[in-house]
Subunit: 393 residues, 2 copies
DNA sequence: AGACAATAGTGCAGGGACCGAACGAATGGG
DNA sequence: CCCATTCGTTCGGTCCCTGCACTATTGTCT
């Protein structure tokens, strides 16, 4: 009852992975692709159908001789939910095994000043709303937070100091779902390798420009965590000795060079609306991009400085991690058109052939929640027997 | 015949891993520890005995009631062989599954000036000698080279330029063994996590001081390779902008700061025997250590500079990889007593709590061959059925 | 000294999962 | 209208693990 069940699980997972990576196909082709027998595949598919994970689709094109096969495809019977708690918003996204977005919402919320308990209550209510408004059964929940996480507890959160020590999972206990809590940049990195132009890339570095600089590193297909869970933290790399003082108390941290604060300081005087933290960040970035497009010298110079600073740091990351691509998210993606050229120049001067390994994220602000939903769904692909039979209609 | 065999393999591997990690024990205890049945364990052990991988040992102490068990322990019926080809020597080491060294040799050889084919012939002859002079059956061969490797071909080798493009595995084709070729620092890193004080550490950074600076990174128990196989290459990190010119043509590379050349330049004038490349490196290092112990100001200052430089770079590595420990090998280990204090000071100033995460390698010059032998042995632990029955007496 | 409890290891029937071959089903071509 | 071809299912066989019964060996208690 122990090890043969594992064989079954592994083979169910193999069929599921095959359908996910290569799209719908007939049982006969599944048998070829997995190396299993047609008989076994039939049995496996029957079980997956019963669990609501796959469904029979259309007949295959009758273009050739022989009996046409019945396509087997992933079903949307279950979904994973990603929640992001950030400084000024709450985002939720649900993903089904096909990769289809089943829910997406974003709620402006002044998380920084509200009590964590209240924010968690709101978030959990939103999750309940998601689960009530669709037929896919939720199998898991992942919460992204802008800080370092130990287990399900926030350990550090520079921009959400009230949240340090909060057990985020406890806020969703009434959902009765497995809850994972993780760093937002890490989840974004996972999102990048799970969908979009860099799907299935095994080695990727994700950099996100927010107030600070966040990073997530995927090596060998696995998220780099490190011995204490803070691996891949790029913001406080000491790259430029003896420079500006960072919020962490040290000097020369990378985020003092390429963080949002550094950009705005370089691009605008104190009275400038760009530097008004009361205004919406996206609007300010749009204004900045407008000035750059209009050819404003100071703005262009500031952006070039950021781009060069990014290149200097990215050179270190490329040399150490050797990623297939460095993906820029957050404000870096917003202003990418002005950053990429100086970034590539600085990178090319330091690491050979690295200039064309930089790309802008196409996932926008949904990266973290998307990664979270993907993580929540992962156990289904790893072990399909975790989904009870007849989970869906 | 396909998947149930995999079950068998996995269970054989589980028993083997249990014995390796926890030492000899009775079948009954093996059953408890693996979760398998006593009957199954008996069957598995019988098969492993037949393959020469385990053997029955002494009776267990009759200190308590009940029938005493018969200890089952790893046997030395097979071995993995590690070969290191370096600038001025050829080293070979054989390891059996118990971790016992079955052979160890080191031959001074001017590899840099000899033809690769000749060196390979010598190396292969030594391997044949190893195999002839003991009863353990060789199951694999790993060759460490001081450079980057693609497949079994040397891609770059700063100190062995003649070897670029050489297919190292081809030189051992007559052995009829699976041959792996890998970077020496990578193998050393694996050696550090497979034996010694840091065995089973999942996240470790290994730094070796040679002519250049080599690095190997283990994250999550896996060697970091990167998308093109050059991950973890620390020598050419651009840390100090616009400084000394490196052999790679760029400026500010880390190895221009902490490489052997930098140390010797700082510690001795051109005429000094320390800087005579004709003399044995170990002797020169011993001389240097002697001067330092005698309190020579210039020597101490040079060493402190190296230590500080190491700390600056190590800070970046610790921040990014978050290793449990940074292990220093090569000449860093030789002169560790003079380097550790300034290194720790520089590290502590940049990353909190990192100072006690530095240690000196205890494997000395055998690290690379030891890691190679370990890698060669790995398939046996992963899938014990690869070893034919009655492989040993 | 003898009975009993405790622990180690083996033998055997049973069941789960996969494999291989044979069979019915559906389609295009001659 | 028959046949080749391909798809999917059914059925017997094999492998391996499990659970239980059984033997073997030792210490302890009476």
């Amino acid at each position: 009852m122990q090890t043969q069940g594992q064989v079954r699980s592994a083979n169910l997972a193999a069929v599921l992975a095959c359908l996910r990576d290569g799209g719908p196909r007939s049982r006969a082709r599944l048998a070829d692709d997995t190396g299993l027998t047609k008989a076994t595949v039939s049995s496996l598919v029957a079980e997956l159908v019963e669990r609501g994970l796959v469904a029979e689709g259309a007949q295959v094109r009758p273009g050739s001789v022989g009996r046409p096969g019945t396509l087997v495809e992933l079903a949307g019977g279950v979904c994973g939910i990603g929640v992001e708690i950030n400084v000024d918003y709450l985002a939720v996204l649900a993903l089904d095994p096909r990769g289809a977005v089943r829910w997406e919402s974003r709620l402006a919320l002044d998380v920084a000043v509200l009590a964590p308990a209240e924010v968690l209550a709101r978030a959990s209510a939103t999750v309940s709303e998601v689960r009530a408004n669709q037929d896919a059964t939720a199998v898991g929940l992942t919460v992204a937070v802008p800080g370092q996480v130990q287990g399900t507890v926030v350990r550090t959160a520079p921009n959400l100091p009230r949240w340090v020590g909060t057990d985020v999972a406890a806020g969703f206990a009434d959902q009765g779902l497995p809850v994972t809590v993780a760093n937002d940049a890490d989840l974004s990195a996972l999102a990048e390798v799970s969908a979009g132009p860099h799907a299935h890339v095994a080695d990727l570095v994700y950099l996100t420009g927010e107030v600070g600089v966040g990073g997530g590193v995927v090596t060998g297909g696995q998220l780099l965590r490190g011995s204490t869970g803070v691996g891949g933290e790029v913001g406080h790399l000491a790259l430029t000795p003896g420079d500006a003082v960072c919020g962490c108390g040290r000097t020369g941290c990378w985020e003092t060079v390429v963080g949002l604060a550094a950009l705005l300081r370089a691009a605008a005087n104190p009275g400038d609306p760009l530097r008004d933290p009361g205004l919406d960040l996206e609007e300010r970035l749009t204004e900045l991009a407008g000035r750059a497009r209009a050819g404003d010298a100071r703005t262009l110079e500031a952006l070039a400085g950021i781009g060069t600073g990014l290149g200097v740091g990215a050179a270190v990351l490329v040399a150490l991690f050797d990623p297939a691509v460095v993906v820029l998210g957050g404000y870096f993606a917003h202003l990418g058109e002005f950053l990429l050229d100086p970034l590539r120049a600085a990178l090319a001067a330091r690491v050979e052939g690295a200039a064309d390994r930089v790309a802008l994220s196409t996932l926008g602000f949904t990266a973290a929640v998307r990664g979270g939903a993907h993580v929540a769904l992962q156990p289904v692909f790893d072990n399909p027997t975790t989904v009870p039979p007849e989970a869906s209609a």
